[in-house]
């Protein structure tokens, strides 16, 4: 039934770190995009101004296209010393005019005076290109002259890398700091828990004071709960102490009585006297036996009420078996028993052993405290609200109204009858309480005692 233990701190931090990693990835993608675009923008501008200055030098001289390549324009591109520069000029007929041959063009290029930028592979390298056209209107050459200028990307990549990694460094710094703050925050938030557990751990078992309530609003309910649980345990402990004191008193008194009788008997020499003393001792001993049995039964039902999982049991079968046993043991007496079950199959969730012990005690009480000619009636019936009613009536003297409450208390005997243990009804009450039922003492129709028990029935 134990669940796997997990650390709240670890849980919170793991989640935060996961969230941070997601944020980090999204931001990195954004930064990367920004860095490449910034680098492209700057180098494309350089490329474009170079291509513009080339295009300006194109003129038509004597029916021939003339190009005076401006080296200054190309030197502009030397700002990126590691990069190679390629160019090609194509005349209005689409023939190669000058520069490198077979340089790439954008797909479906329509000549236009605005520059167009694209990236394509050339001579095995990725090259950024600008393509631009100039319309020549002359009798000798009428049409678009296209100029393509390309530059390898080393400088751009370097620039975008630089932007990217410097931004990334800042970002990582911020994220690490956030994680650290979250970690500290979680630790701080969970600290009251460690304080409480330390406090509990260092406590001596004899320290019965309640825990100090810390001045943290969220922790107060926990401490209150611990304290109320402790109070409950202390209360149980007190009840137990009183019970042990009562039980010790009863057992010691009985043992004392027997020992006294034995001592006196040993002194006696008259056979008749010895015999009557022995009868006395036997009587005392019987009482002690019953007391011991009842104490053990009480301990049994108390223990079981805390520890046994309820099972569905047939109340009819339980009562019939118990009644059969009782009738067998009382066969020689003038006691009549009757049994009425309103339904054949009454089932309730509960502990068979405890319930049997409780009902046995009630039947024994009815026999013990009833007259010699007695009528004991047991009735089982379902009643409203999914409850089951058990009624045990006798035709004995009954218990007067004002003594009924006292009758249920431990070791309180209403008469000086020597045979009672004073535990019977306490056992019954413990069992009925454990079954979430109620126990009532009333007057039976024949003027005796009616014990009325209501127990929750089987879940519908």
């Amino acid at each position: 039934m134990t669940k796997a233990v997990y650390s709240l701190q670890q849980h919170l931090i793991t989640r935060t770190v996961l969230l941070m990693i997601i944020v980090f990835s999204v931001l990195s993608a954004g930064v990367w995009d920004y860095a490449s675009r910034a680098a492209d923008l700057s180098y494309n501008r350089l490329l474009n101004s170079a291509s513009l200055s080339i295009i300006e030098r194109i003129s038509v001289q004597e029916s021939q296209i003339d190009l005076d390549l401006p080296y200054a324009a190309l030197s502009m591109l030397e700002l990126a010393p590691d990069d190679k520069v390629y160019y090609e000029v194509i005349d209005h007929t689409g023939q190669h005019l000058t520069g490198y041959r077979k340089t790439p063009s954008p797909v479906d290029y329509q000549p236009h005076s605005d520059p167009q930028f694209f990236t394509a592979k050339y001579k095995g390298e990725v090259v950024s290109w600008v393509v631009q056209s100039k319309l020549l209107i002359a009798p000798a050459a009428n049409g678009w002259v296209v100029i393509k200028l390309g530059q390898t990307r080393n400088a751009r990549n370097e620039l975008s890398g630089e932007i990217f990694f410097s931004s990334l460094a800042t970002l990582s710094g911020i994220l690490l700091l956030t994680t650290l703050l979250v970690w500290l925050g979680v630790r701080r938030a969970l600290q009251p828990l460690s304080i409480i557990s330390e406090n509990l751990k260092n406590r001596s078992p004899n320290d019965l004071r309640p825990l100090n309530t810390p001045a943290i609003k969220e922790v107060v309910p926990l401490v209150d709960a611990i304290n109320s649980y402790q109070q409950q345990l202390l209360h149980n402990l007190d009840t137990m102490k009183v019970f042990i004191a009562d039980a010790s008193h009863q057992i010691r008194s009985s043992l004392g009585g027997i020992q006294g009788q034995l001592d006196v008997t040993l002194q006696a020499s008259d056979t008749e006297e010895i015999r009557s003393r022995l009868i006395n001792i036997r009587q005392q001993h019987k009482k002690l036996t019953r007391l011991t049995n009842q104490l053990l039964a009480h301990a049994l039902v108390t223990h079981r009420s805390d520890s046994i999982e309820p099972r569905l049991i047939s109340l009819n079968a339980l009562v019939e078996a118990l009644l059969t046993e009782t009738v067998r043991d009382q066969a020689h007496t003038q006691i009549d028993f009757s049994y009425t079950a309103k339904t054949d199959d009454i089932r309730i969730p509960g502990d068979k052993v405890s319930l049997k012990e409780a009902l046995k005690n009630l039947l024994e009480n009815a026999v013990r405290y009833g007259p010699d000619i007695n009528q004991i009636d047991i009735t089982l019936s379902p009643c409203d609200g999914n409850l089951v009613e058990i009624i045990i009536d006798d035709s004995g003297p009954g218990i007067p109204g004002h003594q009924r409450r006292q009758a249920i208390q431990r070791f309180s005997r209403l008469s000086s009858d020597v045979s009672g243990s004073g535990l019977g009804l306490a056992i019954v009450e413990t069992v009925i309480q454990a079954h979430q039922g109620t126990l009532k003492l009333e007057r039976s129709p024949s003027g005796g005692l009616r014990v009325l028990i209501r127990l929750p029935g089987a879940p519908l």
């Binding site: 036996t289 049995n293 039964a297 049994l300 046994i308 019939e320 009644l323 059969t324 009738v327 067998r328 009382q330 066969a331 020689h332 009549d336 028993f337 009757s338 049994y339 009425t340 079950a341 068979k352 052993v353």
Partner: protein
């Protein structure tokens, strides 16, 4: 009739032996399962009185090994605990009856007699139930050696109770056993027969208790 007592508490064993000797049923005594097994291997007994908490092997182990060997010898368990387990009682483990210590010797003797009666009743024609003797072959019934005349139905009813001592018999049980399907029987007829039987056997050890709403229970008080 021989009874073997297996009990390690010497005081209890000694007293039990003395009590049974006084009522005329001497019993043999061993202190452990191991010794009991040796004794049982060369001697015949009519029943066992078996303590559970013994040095060495427990009483249950002896009971189990006996039942596994198919021996049906009646076993009465003496236990210090009313419940061995939530679900398993001494009876589930193959015992014929059980008593919780400390026991009243009169009760112990009565239970032993009941077990022996059940055992013997199945084997012979004469059922001895306290002061009541019922000869199944001759249909002769005596109480305190005085012959008692019973009508057919009364005798059948008596036989039914003697064969189901300490058990509840419902009216239906009795009607099914005593009357054929055609015979007009009313629960009243059973009641009347029972009243006559009780009257004729009023001096006997047999008590037939009516549990209204449940049935009837026969018990020998001897």
């Amino acid at each position: 009739m021989r009874i073997l007592l297996i009990e390690d508490n010497e005081a209890l064993a000694d007293a039990t032996q003395e009590y049974f000797r006084q009522i005329g049923h001497p019993l043999d005594w061993t202190v452990s399962v191991e010794m009991a097994e040796r004794t049982l291997s060369w001697d015949d007994f009519d029943m066992l009185i078996l303590d559970i908490n013994l040095p060495g092997r427990s009483g249950y182990q002896l009971l189990q090994s006996l039942r596994q060997k198919g021996r049906t010898i009646p076993v009465l368990i003496l236990t210090a605990r009313a419940e061995i387990d939530d679900r398993v009682s001494a009876l589930d483990l193959g015992a014929d009856d059980y008593l919780v210590k400390p026991v009243d010797f009169r009760e112990l003797a009565a239970r032993c007699r009941a077990l022996l009666r059940r055992e013997r009743g199945a084997a012979s024609n004469t059922m001895v139930c306290g002061n009541l003797i019922f000869n199944l072959a001759t249909h002769q019934i005596t109480v305190n050696n005085q012959a008692v005349e019973l009508r057919l139905r009364e005798r059948q009813l008596l036989e039914l109770f003697l064969k189901n001592l300490d058990r509840v018999l419902t009216k239906e049980d009795i009607a099914n056993k005593l009357y054929t399907f055609d015979e007009a029987n009313t629960p009243n007829a059973i009641e009347q027969t029972l009243t006559r039987l009780r009257k004729k056997l009023s001096e006997s050890s047999l008590h037939i208790k009516t549990i209204r709403g449940l049935g009837y229970l026969g018990h020998i008080d001897d």
